[in-house]
Amino acid sequence: MQHINKVSDSAHQELSQLLPWYVNKTLQGSELKEVDHHLTVCLTCKREVVQLQKLAHVVIKEGSLDSAEQASFSRLKKRLHTAKPLDMQSLPQQNRPEQLKIGASDNVRRISRARKQGWINNSVLRPALAMAAVVLLSLLMPRYLDTEVKLGNEFRTLSNAQQNPISANEIRVVFAEGISQQQKGKILKRIHGQFIDNPTAQGVYTVRLDRDMTPTDPLGVVGMLRKDSSVIFAEPAYELLSSTHMEKEK
């Protein structure tokens, strides 16, 4: 009799552990039959099933979710094109799912490499853009500061706004890293422009456009250049009349 009780206790223990999966209806075959039968004779497990059903009901209840799915995917997409291929070394061995232990696929690596070649790497682009921004500020800020101090009565209104005739057809350009002189020449040919001096230490070229040949105005050319991946910065080289006067006085 004692032996029978011991067996039934162990069976109860074993079947009791299956109750959560009885509640979520994933038990099948003999396991399901055994639990079903056990529930007809075990009041404890029957009560446990009721409690587990309550718990399941609460867990299943949808919580409030941050529906930022689209923004989140955009971040992932950006990462796909900028990040290095996943390095298995960066994943601790014990944290890898079994499937991932197989090793990186050559195919995916190849595709990943191909993808990376097709895009400008952010590690190059970002510093270059930052540099261009610094260059732009360093070029423009002294002029604006001088203007503020020495402008006097020369302020202009919309009715008499003028552009410096000397610089109206000039633009400033910064080329992407690794662009050869030949490629720069081709770009200049396309916009009918020419360098008017050597680049600054920061790599800023001033380009004068041929008014008769250029198919569009300087702003149009700037627009064209901005679409060109070989150019990371392009702006009209407008100057204020006051600063031009000051330069002439010097």
Binding site: S16, Q17, L18, P20, W21, V23, N24, K25, T26, L27, Q28, Q51, L52, K54, L55, A56, V58, V59, I60, K61, G63, L65, D66, A68, E69, S72, F73, R75, L76, K77, R79, L80, A83, P85, L86, P92, N95, R96, P97, E98, Q99, L100, I102, G103, A104, S105, D106, N107, V108, I111, S112, A114, R115
Partner: protein, 209 residues
């Protein structure tokens, strides 16, 4: 290397109903397309799994600020490792396996979160019987959230995968990379702990009904 073949019948492991099987086959097809660097397939897969992963990672980590980053890490690995996906395994098992490891790693990297206070659980809650069902449910959710905070990430994962994802213990074992008996034991301990914490709530529940 050639992309893996997409299973046409069903997946090994627990039997699936027709609807689930269709979804799993569809997702396996999307993973196969990832091997050809198909970003549209990734977007669809992302859409299918976002809410489920969000919930699961939120449950395991209990750190809102980590969820989005972990989801992105998971889908990035799916993208990068698509060719190593075993077509005999359900796509959801593979993806949740990655998610579990990433979530656990994120919790570890972020350090131990501040201990949550359970003082509220000791408060008199007899007034709950006078509230409407919606408010009661809200309270219940909060309580469950607090109660789950007392469990380990592994215990919370078992609860979520069992009740929300509706998975069999064998599949949970595959996701968590542990023996089936470990899953059962984790669930047993989680149940015992939750039973103690949620006991006052269950009493209140009977008052409202």
């Amino acid at each position: 290397m050639k992309a893996h073949a997409v299973p046409t019948q069903s997946f090994a492991g627990t039997p699936l109903d027709t609807c689930q099987n269709g979804q799993q086959l569809r997702d396996a097809g999307l993973i196969a397309r990832l091997c050809d660097a198909d970003e549209q397939a990734l977007e669809q897969l992302y859409h299918h799994y976002y809410t489920r992963l969000f919930r699961f990672i939120a449950r395991v980590t209990r750190r809102d600020e980590l969820i989005d980053e972990v989801i992105n890490d998971v889908m990035f690995i799916v993208w990068e490792k698509a060719a190593s996906y075993d077509p005999h395994c359900k796509p959801s098992t593979w993806i949740f396996g990655i998610a579990f490891n990433k979530a656990r790693q994120a919790v570890r990297d972020a350090g131990r979160p501040e201990e949550e206070s359970f003082d509220d659980l000791d408060e008199d809650n007899s007034w709950l019987g006078k509230q409407d069902a919606g408010l009661f449910q809200l309270e219940m959710d909060d309580w469950l959230g607090s109660a789950l905070g007392e469990l380990s990430p592994e215990h919370r994962a078992v609860i979520e995968l069992t009740y929300y994802e509706g998975l069999h213990y064998s599949e949970i074992a595959a996701i968590m990379g542990c023996p089936e008996n470990t899953v059962k034991t984790r669930m047993y301990h989680a149940r015992k702990k939750l039973a103690v914490i949620l006991a006052p709530t269950n009493d209140s529940s009977s008052h409202t009904n």
